[in-house]
Every structure is written in C-alpha cells, then in structure tokens.
C-alpha cells in the first residue's frame, strides 16, 4: 500500500513535468501523421514514372469497361489531389488473361498468383458486379489495385454528379490472392518501434527521478528517511515503467491510426482486418520491454550525479540498443539457444515471433524469465548505487564498489544480493545444463544411435556419467554462486545458510516426512497431469523407462551420492539457506516460503533446452514442505534430511524395482496410487510434520 502511494507520488511528479508531456504526446501527435503523409506521397508517386501496372481481365466486355474508366477524363483525380501526388498519373497496361501467347487461357486469379499481372478484374451477373484481385503482401500489386479503385471512385463520383440517377454504379469487391504471410512487415517493424519508444519514454523520468533528486537537493532528505532504498527505488521503477508504457502506447496508437487512416495497415499486417489480436500481443510485449529498459536505465541514472552525466551515460545505451532492435529485421534469426537468454535480443526476437505467430513456448518462457532476472539485477544495482553517492561528496563510489567487500560483517545477505544471485543463476544454469546436454548427446552419438538403440551397458555408462556431471553442475552453480555472494557481502556463513544445530526430534520428524512426502509429490504430479499442467510425452515416458532400467544396474551408492546427497545439501543450502534468509529480511515467513518454493519449482523446470513443466507442481509442493520445516526449525539441516530421504527413497525404489514388484507396486507415472498407499504415506508425512512442529521451535534469526 505504501509502495503504491510512493509510486503514485513519483508518477504525479514526473507526469506534471512539461518535458514528460512533450515526449509522451508531441512525438506521436506530430511525427506519425507527417511520416504517413510522406509515405503516402511516396507510394502514390514512386512507381508512376516507371513500368506501367499490368491490369488483367478475362473477357472483352470487362476490358472495355476498364478501358472506359481509365481513358475517361472523369476518372482523373481533381488537380489539387494530383498535384499533391506529384502531378503524375500511374499508367496501366491492359491484358486479356484468356488470350495469352502460349494459347493457354487462365483466370485472372491464377495470373495474379503467377505474378503475370498486378491487378485482376473479374465480373459476374447482370447487372454486373466486379471482383478486384491483388496479391496479398505484394506492395506493387496492392498499389496497383488501390490506384485503380481510386480512379474508379472518381469516375463513379463524377457520373453521379452528372445527375444520372438511372445509372446504377456497378458494385465491386476486393479479393486478395496468395497465402497469408507468415511474417507480416508488422512483426519486423514493431520490435524496433518498441525498443525506440520504450527507451524514449523511460529516459526522461529515469533521469528525473534519480539524478534529478540530487539536482533538486531532495536526495539527502529522501535518504535520511526510514525507507529501505530498494523500496524507494521500486516506487520510482513503477513510475518509469508506467510512463514508458504510456509513451509507447501513445506512439503505437498514433502509428496504427495514421496507417489505418492512410489505408496502409493491410501492407503491414498482411490482411484487411484491423489486427486486434496483434494489438493485444503488442501491449503484453510492451510490459516486458518497458520493464526491462526502465530497470536498465534506472541502474545507469542512479549512478549519475547530474542530469548531464546521466544523459552522457544513456546515449551509448540507446545506440547499443538499436543493434538488437535491428536484428528483428534480419530474416532467419530464431529465438533459441543462447539467443533466448541474451539480454534485449531475446525480447526483440520474442516480439517478432509472437507477432508472426511462430513462438516456441520453451524459448519464450526462457526469454521472459531471463529478462525478469536482468531487470531484477539492474534494479538491485540501482538500489546499491542510488543515493549512496549523493550524500557522500567525498567518497568516490564507482562500479568497482559493487565488488568491494563491506567492512562490517552482516548476519544475512541483502535481498539485493539475493536478486543478483538469482539473475546470475538463470543464465549460468541455462548455459551449463545446455552444455551438459550437448556433451551427453554428443557422447550418445559417438556410441551410435539414440538412447533406445544403445546396448544396456553403454546406456548405463552414459547414465552414470550424466549423473556425476549433473551433480558437479549443481555444486558449481547452486553451491558456488551463492557462496561467492556470501563472501563478497561479508555475510556470516552460519546465519546466511541457517546452519544452526537443530534438535534431534526435528531431524527425526523431517526424516519421517521424507518417508511419506513422495506420495504427495506423486499425486500432485498425476493431478497436475490430469489438469493439463505439464504431463509427459510418449518419448519422455520411454526415456524414463530406459533410465529406470539403467538405475537398476548403477551401484546404489552412486545413485544416492549424485541424486540424493548432492541435491539435498546444495539445494537446501541455496533455497532454504541463502535465499530464505535473504528474503526473510523483507518478507513475511509465509511469503518467503511461497517465493522460495516457487523459485525451487522454477529451477526444476528449467533443465537444458527443454522445459520440464511437469516437474513444477510436485517440486513446488515439496518446496512448501521444506520451507515450513526450515522456518519452523530455524535450520537448514532437518530439510536436508527430509530432502535426502525423499530423493533416496525414489532412487532405491527405482533400483530395487524388480524386487518390489511382489508387493504389487505399480510405478506408472500417470496413474493414481492405490488409496491405502496414499492413506499410509500421507499419515506418515503428517505425523512427521507434527513432530517437526512440536519439536520445540528454534527462533529464526531475524536481522534487519
């Protein structure tokens, strides 16, 4: 609520400023109509002196009608109109498509498709009605028809003026030939427009609300107030996002309106219908673009000491941003692989794919998530820089100060550090797991064929190698990055990772939860599948079966070490240790548990290039259970026990699959467990939770 009031103030302040209004309104109101006029003039005249348009008819009668119109002085536009179009009239050349040189008569619509004529005319009925054909997306063909229709309308108008009410003007219909274009011009232009407009919109408020505070002399009073810097900055961020979006909306509205009024819209969208869907998609993309740019610009302007300095920082950024914007103009570039996490490039490509309807959900999700990560990182940098320099004229804060360790020890990392770590984890984990997948599939192809064709011993070797490598990746990414951040922020290990010694009862309780929780996870998986959240493809089920076969041969200690011990220790330290303690500084316990569980679920989804969406619901639920245990016991250790037992149990069941068949176990991924199994497992889990709950709570270390 307060955040809303603070944002409201920022918004009020910047929106009352004349300069904001100028960028917000003047640009769209003046630039687009002018541009459209110039473009119209170009379209009317550009081809006029060149090759005449080829106009095709199917019979003599239609040919005479066309001749009559084109040759009649009545179809000539009034002099003023002609003058504004450069004084030149476009030439037309008449063809009879039923009377071609090679003797094969064709219809006008065929000729249009083949490109032998620019515009085709077909008649039917009595009194005659005409169909006017042009090729969809072909500028020249569309132009030819537009000019012919204009001439026809002038002709009909003057016929009516000659007061001949008995003459009924023939009706005509517009028909487009050719496939709907996959990539309308809109999809290549709009991303660039979005980049330009959100930057234009965000620049002024970003400078005004950060560097401007210093110039006005309000910074010191603001920094002296008891509001965390991040919150002040977040309020500013929302205001900048809103202004950037409003600017872009005003610009797009002006652009669409002028194009629509000028009749140029079909050229861009490839269809005659007003593109409501695309407009909605563009609005969605706008949120992403303005969210990204506002954060990036704020991080730069927060560093600046004055308006002038801020502008100096922003100009290179604006120029640099144009390059990825231009990328959207290049055909053939796809949103995949590293491009999906490349800042700005990914959203430009995403915008293009969304508008041309060729979006790939996995890559799109990756692009959106990494962009949110970048924005969060930029904001955390901004929060770090904002204000710190304004009050210390004598100290010299620089970018290097971000990497300087503070002089004093802190108990837990700041939320900004956590945001930074998250922003790093997304792309690094993405790259690492992709490299891993690539390496493994490379290994597989060396071993010949797909996983199905592999002899079992090779499959086992591959599987165990992949397990060791995954465990190493986990340690290097989720272990090392938070550890580095802890060292850099001089936070105490014990309190950051919540390594306090828990009571024995808490560990016992958590272990018991681990024995029962797998059923909950399994049921969640099946229910989510039934609801259409995730679910497994046939191929994934086959892969899983193959993997289970391999599991039966791999020594159990390898399974336990790589798939139970490592994840239990590293993931708990990262999610219920580092992130938990950092988030708990600014959020209520409930929200902290929800957020860390969400992140826990999310990282289980982002594995390699594929999005394992089916993993989200079960891991999120396990995250919730682990979160409650971590909060209640004040320690990360009982969670490790539960996590280990849970994972270990699954692997041991996988390993001793055959031996367990006698108890009637059916481990199909898509069927519910037998009711008595669910009842027993749930009872065990609930009993475990009850023990954890009553195990005597250790107070969670809360340090502001």
């Amino acid at each position: 609520m307060r955040l809303w009031r603070l944002s409201h103030k920022e918004l009020k302040e910047t929106s009352r400023d004349r300069r904001t209004i100028i960028t917000l309104l003047m640009m769209p109101l003046l630039v687009y109509p002018l541009l459209s006029m110039a473009m119209n003039r170009y379209l009317l005249t550009s081809d006029a002196e060149a090759v005449p348009y080829k106009i095709g008819v199917e019979n003599e009668a239609d040919g005479r009608w066309v001749q009559e119109i084109l040759q009649s002085p009545d179809s000539t536009p009034p002099e003023e109109v002609l003058k504004s179009a450069g004084g030149q009239m476009a030439e037309f050349e008449l063809f009879n498509t039923s009377d071609t040189l090679d003797g094969k008569p064709t219809t006008v619509s065929d000729s249009i498709s083949r490109g032998t004529i620019d515009v085709g005319i077909e008649s039917e009925g009595d009194p005659k009605s005409y169909r006017l054909y042009a090729f969809r997306g072909d500028l020249r063909s569309q132009n030819a028809r537009r000019i012919f229709v204009e001439r026809l309308q002038w002709y009909q108008l003057s016929q009516l003026e000659k007061a001949a009410p008995q003459v009924v003007a023939p009706e005509f219909e517009i028909v487009d030939e050719g496939e709907e274009q996959n990539e309308p011009i809109l999809a290549t232009i709009v991303p660039l427009v979005l980049v330009l407009m959100t930057i234009t919109g965000a620049v002024y408020p970003a400078i005004d609300l950060t560097a401007g505070e210093r110039e006005r002399g309000t910074m010191e009073a603001l920094m002296a107030s008891p509001v965390p810097r991040f919150q002040v900055l977040l309020a500013k961020y929302f205001a900048v996002v809103v202004i950037a979006m409003l600017t872009a909306i005003a610009n797009l509205a002006a652009m669409f309106t002028t194009l629509w009024l000028g009749g140029l819209l079909p050229l861009l969208t490839g269809s005659d219908v007003f593109p409501w869907l695309q407009v909605l998609q563009i609005l969605g993309l706008l949120v992403l673009f303005s969210g990204f740019f506002s954060a990036v610009l704020l991080s730069l302007t927060s560093f600046a000491r004055s308006f002038k300095e801020a502008q100096a920082y922003l100009i290179p950024v604006m120029l640099l941003s144009l390059a990825p914007g231009m990328l959207s103009l290049l055909p053939g570039v796809k949103l995949s692989g590293p491009l999906a996490v490349a800042p700005l490039i990914n959203i430009v490509m995403l915008a293009r794919e969304v508008l041309s309807g060729t979006v790939v959900p996995a890559a799109a999700t990756m692009a959106v998530i990494s962009t949110i990560g970048y924005a969060a990182a930029a904001l955390s940098i901004a929060a770090h820089l904002f204000g710190s320099d304004a009050v210390t004229r004598t100290s010299d804060q620089s970018f290097a100060s971000l990497l300087k360790r503070p002089k004093r020890w802190t108990a837990v990392p700041t939320p900004q550090t956590a945001a930074m770590v998250l922003a790093l984890l997304v792309p690094i984990y993405f790259v690492c797991s992709n490299v891993l997948m690539k390496y493994l599939s490379g290994m597989r192809s060396i071993m010949l064929g797909s996983l199905d064709d592999l002899p079992l011993d090779s499959a086992v070797a591959l599987q165990s190698r992949s397990m060791w490598l995954s465990a190493t990746t986990l340690i290097l990414v989720f272990g090392l990055i938070p550890l580095l951040a802890t060292w850099l922020g001089r936070s105490r290990l014990l309190s950051t990772y919540r390594l306090h010694r828990p009571g024995v009862l808490a560990i016992v309780g958590a272990t018991i939860v681990g024995l029962g929780a797998w059923a909950v996870a399994h049921e969640a998986f099946v229910i989510a599948d039934a609801l259409g959240i995730g679910g497994l493809s046939e191929k994934r089920i086959a892969d899983t079966r193959k993997m289970l076969e391999a599991w039966q041969i791999i020594p159990p200690w390898v399974l336990l070490l790589t798939l139970a011990v490592t994840p239990a220790v590293i993931e708990e330290l990262c999610f219920r240790g580092f992130l938990f303690s950092a988030v708990l500084r600014v959020m209520s316990p409930l929200r902290t548990i929800l957020l860390t569980s969400f992140l826990f679920g999310l990282f289980h989804v982002l594995t390699g290039n594929a999005l394992l969406i089916e993993r989200f619901v079960p891991t999120f639920l396990l995250g919730l259970i682990l979160g409650v245990i971590a909060y209640r016991t004040g320690s990360v250790i009982p969670g490790m026990a539960m996590h280990f037992v849970h994972n270990g149990l699954l692997e041991m069941v996988g390993h001793y699959y055959k031996q367990l068949e006698f108890i009637g176990a059916d481990f199909d991924n898509q069927t519910h467990l037998p009711p008595h199994w669910i009842a027993i497992a749930t009872t065990i889990a609930v009993a475990g939770m009850a023990i954890v709950w009553f195990a005597g709570r250790r107070r969670t270390l809360l340090v502001p």
């Binding site: 307060r2 603070l6 009020k12 302040e13 010191e220 002296a224 008891p226 210390t392």
Partner: protein, 244 residues
C-alpha cells in the same frame, strides 16, 4: 535523547587518509539545543550523516531513544528529523503533497500526517501556499516548508545542518523562532554551524570541533573557564592557531 559514542570516520583518497571525525562523543538531552561548531571541514556534516545513517562509521555509534544506528538504522532514522540549508523541494508537487509524501516515508498514517501538516502550517505560517506548486515558492517560503518537513513525523531529536546559510535577516529570525519552538516542545536539538555569533545566541551547550576532534565542550560558562576567552570567535581563532 541522543548519545554519540566514539564516532570515527576516515575517508581515503588515492594518496592519503583523512580522518574526518575522530573518536567523537557527546550527549544531547530533551529540550536542549546543542551547537556542534567548527570551521568548514571540521567534520560537522560527516558527524550528522553518520547519525542519520547516510554514512557508515568506521567505529562508534549513535543512539537515539535507546535505539542504536548499528543494530536498527531504520529505527534510528524514524526518530530523527533533519533539516539542511541545501534542502530542495519537488517543484511539480504542491507543498501539501510533498509534506504528506514525507509523512508517508516516515510511516505516519495519512490522516495523522494531514492533521500535522495543517497544525505545522499554521505554526510556521505556510498555510496560504499549502496547495501551491513547490516550484513557485520564494527562497524564504521554501525554507519554511523544509522546516515543516523535518517535523512532519514529530521526531524526538532534530538535526539542523547550517540552517541559516544563505538566508536574509528575516530568514535567520525564522530559524531562531523555530529552534526556540523545538526547545519548548522538548526536542533534543543539534545545530551544526560555523556562524559562531548565531550559535552563541541559540545554543545551551557547545561542542567545538576542529579537524574531526572535539576540542572543548560544555556550556558557555564552561568554555569561558577552559579557554579564558569571552567569545566563541576568539576561542576558535586560538584553536586554529594551536593546530596550525
């Protein structure tokens, strides 16, 4: 009540280390006006910034009403009011909007802030232009607005940094009246200034700061006894000579 204990701050430049504040300790009681005096560069502003939590001290702490800067910096900030001569205003907000904004920053409930805004406006005579854009105010009017801003959350301790800098006679008199009001309502007040004549008229106790160190402290009588001089200006000239 404000306690400053062993505050120390060193700034390091590329080639030298400057100890801006050196083991500084003092106390200010409610209803007392404490003058932290010294020439430019003595360390007055650095001290205030450490108390305000804008700068991290290398050693020592400040304590306001039992809350320490190192353990609860936000808690300390919310108990402090701060006014500086270089304070600006938000030109596009009305005076009232700006005051309510600061009320919000200090966590004052909007209805309470609105009432305090009215009361303080009457007290400081800014009622007529409460709803004018702050950008249209004269220097004197702006000064009164920032004085009100410092009090919007009714803090027990007020910090004033060079409050009379750049003001005319009327402006200086407004400050004097303001400080008298603060003393009357029982605030602990610190005034940092290099205008020694003004300080002598205003403050109950003094701390003479030079090169980051407290050279003399006490009431005027104490200082006279310790230095053998009648006026603060003379005491300072002596100090500067000794340390030259």
């Amino acid at each position: 009540m404000l306690t400053v204990q062993s505050l120390t701050k060193t700034f390091s430049t590329d080639d030298a280390e400057v100890r801006a504040v050196d083991d500084l300790s003092f106390q200010v009681q409610p209803g007392e006006v404490y003058g932290l005096l010294g020439p430019n560069g003595a360390g007055k502003t650095t001290t205030l910034r450490m108390v305000l939590g804008l700068l991290e001290p290398d050693a020592g702490f400040a304590e306001v009403d039992g809350v320490r800067t190192e353990s609860d910096p936000i808690g300390v900030k919310s108990r402090l009011g701060f006014v500086s001569a270089s304070d600006g205003v938000y030109p596009w907000l009305s005076v009232r909007e700006m005051l309510l904004y600061f009320g919000d920053l200090y966590g004052v409930a909007p209805s309470v802030a609105a009432q305090r805004c009215e009361d303080l406006a009457t007290l400081m005579g800014i009622e007529p232009f409460l709803d004018r854009r702050a950008g249209t105010l004269s220097t004197g009017q702006r000064q009164r607005v920032t004085l009100v801003r410092g009090l919007i959350h009714d803090p027990p301790v007020m910090l004033l940094d060079e409050p009379t800098r750049g003001l005319d006679v009327v402006g200086v008199q407004t400050i004097f009246d303001y400080i008298k009001h603060l003393r009357d309502v029982g605030k602990a007040v610190i005034v940092c200034t290099h205008r020694l004549d003004e300080a002598q008229r205003l403050c109950d106790r003094f701390g003479l700061l030079h090169r980051g160190k407290l050279q003399h402290a006490g009431t005027m009588t104490d200082l006279k006894e310790a230095t053998g001089r009648e006026h603060l200006v003379e005491m300072f000239v002596d100090l500067m000579k000794e340390n030259a």
